[in-house]
């Protein structure tokens, strides 16, 4: 059978691979190459070695901390959102698996923001934040911390419902007789949570943590629409910082591309760690 299928590759594989080559392989390989070049379009490149990479941190002999600032701002943002989203989603999921009235309706409502795109829902919140802060003659971009917590609220509102759905499925997968057995042995609610529910939920917790981790790290739309990186460049997350470097001023495309390569390496590193962790968990079970 394999032989007869084999010769049909132009029908089965070619369309996807042609598009994949245009849409991913060539841009990716060429993107790495361009990070070592000075360029303004894809045809006028000139090899400059590591100059783009050094210019991320040092420009004309002066230290430029913009990228480092955005790196730790992103790291902090990611840590805060991962913690809030996962704790809240887990809490809601626990409550919504007790079989209370209206469970389905609540689930529907909590999940809704996730379907609305980042641009649209950021403007929903921008109106709310700014009309509230107007009372104190402030806006969401008054300081980088207003911007920070604004972004945190928007992202939590968007993602808690999504993670809740995953936690609900995880909790429902815990065998009821295990809970029952622990109860008969006299475990109280806290012991039940700590010794039975949480350990059995570890695979789900890993999935959700890494989903929120990469989402936080790669956040762009909400950042662009809600704060635009203001005030100054103080609320620029990494993705927006790269975008602004690339399209903000001509002559900086190479530096933008070099930042993108570093960004890719960071995201890839997170994915590799995630893969290691989830695979080792599977082996244990």
């Amino acid at each position: 059978m394999e032989k007869s299928i084999k010769k049909y590759w132009p029908v089965f594989v070619l369309p996807t691979m042609a598009a994949f080559t245009i849409g991913f392989i060539v841009p990716f390989v060429y993107g790495i190459w361009l990070s070592f070049c000075k360029f303004t379009t894809v045809v006028d490149w000139k090899f400059v070695g590591l100059r783009n990479y050094t210019r991320i941190f040092v420009v004309n002999g002066e230290v430029d901390t913009t990228f480092l600032h955005s790196l730790w701002y992103t790291a902090l943002f990611t840590v805060v959102t991962v913690a809030i989203i996962n704790v809240a989603a887990f809490g809601i999921a626990m409550a919504l698996t007790k079989g209370i009235k209206g469970t389905n309706l609540f689930r529907t409502v909590f999940f809704l923001p996730n379907l609305i795109g980042g641009i649209v829902l950021s403007y929903v919140w921008l109106m709310i934040f700014n009309s509230y802060l107007a009372k104190y003659s402030k806006t969401i971009v008054s300081t980088q911390w207003y911007a920070f917590w604004g972004l945190v609220i928007v992202v939590c509102w968007q993602q808690i419902g999504y993670m809740m759905i995953i936690y609900v499925a995880g909790i429902q997968n815990i065998p009821a007789d295990l809970i029952e057995a622990a109860k008969i042995d006299g475990a109280n609610n806290w012991q039940l949570l700590k010794n039975v529910t949480l350990p059995l939920l570890m695979p789900t917790i890993t999935i959700c943590s890494f989903l929120t981790l990469t989402n936080g790290f790669k956040l762009f739309d909400q950042n662009l629409a809600l704060t635009g990186g203001n005030p100054g460049k103080m609320s620029e997350l990494l993705a927006l910082n790269i975008y602004n470097t690339m399209y903000g001023t001509t002559g900086w495309q190479g530096v933008g591309q070099a930042k993108a390569v570093i960004f890719f390496l960071l995201v890839a590193l997170i994915s590799v760690i995630q893969n290691k962790l989830t695979t080792s968990k599977e082996v244990q079970q």
């Binding site: 059978m1 007790k98 009235k101 609540f106 649209v120 790669k218």
Partner: protein, 301 residues
């Protein structure tokens, strides 16, 4: 003894249930309050949106009922904001572009990637292995890594239009789709396919008559995940498309904010409502599939 125990726990659960239901009812209302606020303000005169975002009248009720009532009619402007918004953003045109791009892209992704996934699972050689690994790899690459080169190449290849961008989406979305379809095909036994081919089906007939129908659950999952991505995507179309001509909904919303020095918040509220309504309608119609699809995607991705 056991029976009494059960009764006690049911009673206790019911008691807790009431409290929890009440708490969650309150949280749920708070949860959709932002959207309700946008809906309310979309009918207000723009000057009153920031002055009194949560109220419905510019006069306090304590100043007399008649004046309060007059205040309401002064605050609200009917569908005026909607008219401005639709005119300024050419909303229905954007809606058409968004719909066209999403439907064609998702159709292409499902058809091409499921075919590709079946082929690379059934044919074992170095090439199919490499294709699979490349698809896996593409899933961890953030868009910023390829945005510059991808948009320039799309320009050179004349893909900067609603039809061309669907090919870009097929290319950049292929990783996840091929991965998910491959996972499914691996779990299907080859015997049915073999029987069909012994009976004289060509691989193409076998694929469309046998494989495609059994893939239905995975097709729904991939369709949901890719639609959510393409419909809401902002950065890729804003870089690839010729945005003077073609604006998808997210681009139109962002354009309304950037292009007119002073933002018309009345029009903004209206366009946000117009952008959210189709999503809510779709969500209510296909809720079961959406939640299942998202769940399957999260666990596998």
């Amino acid at each position: 003894m056991a029976k009494t125990d059960m009764n006690v726990s049911t009673v206790r659960r019911a008691k807790h249930g009431w409290i929890l239901t009440t708490i969650f009812a309150v949280i749920s209302i708070t949860w959709i309050l932002p959207i309700a606020m946008v809906l309310l303000n979309s009918f207000k005169r723009k000057a009153y949106i920031f002055a009194n975002p949560f109220g419905i009248s510019n006069v306090k009720l304590s100043q007399g009922f008649a004046r309060w009532q007059a205040g309401i009619s002064k605050t609200f402007v009917g569908f005026m904001n909607y008219k401005t918004a639709v005119k300024q953003t050419k909303f229905f045109q954007s809606f058409g572009y968004s719909l066209f791009i999403t439907v064609i892209s998702v159709f292409l992704i499902i058809l091409c990637c499921s075919m590709c996934a079946w082929y690379i699972t059934r044919v074992h050689n170095a090439a199919t292995k490499i294709i699979y690994l490349l698809c896996l790899f593409s899933m961890i690459v953030p868009f910023q890594m390829v945005m510059f080169t991808l948009s320039k190449f799309a320009n050179i290849l004349h893909l900067s239009n609603p039809l061309g961008i669907t090919i870009v989406y097929l290319g950049f979305g292929a990783g996840l789709a091929v991965f998910m379809f491959t996972g499914f095909v691996k779990s299907v036994s080859v015997e049915i396919e073999e029987a069909a081919m012994i009976d004289g089906c060509t691989p193409i007939q076998t694929y469309f008559k046998i494989i495609l129908p059994i893939m239905k659950p995975t097709i729904v999952t991939v369709a949901i995940l890719e639609s959510m991505w393409v419909w809401n995507d902002y950065l890729l179309p804003s870089l690839v498309l010729n945005i003077n001509k073609y604006k998808t909904i997210p681009i139109a919303v962002q354009f309304l904010k950037q292009s007119h020095g002073q933002v018309d918040w009345g029009a903004m509220m209206a366009v946000l409502v117009l952008a959210i309504v189709p999503i809510v309608v779709f969500y209510i119609a296909a809720q079961k599939y959406i939640i299942e699809g998202v769940l399957a995607g999260a666990v596998k991705g």
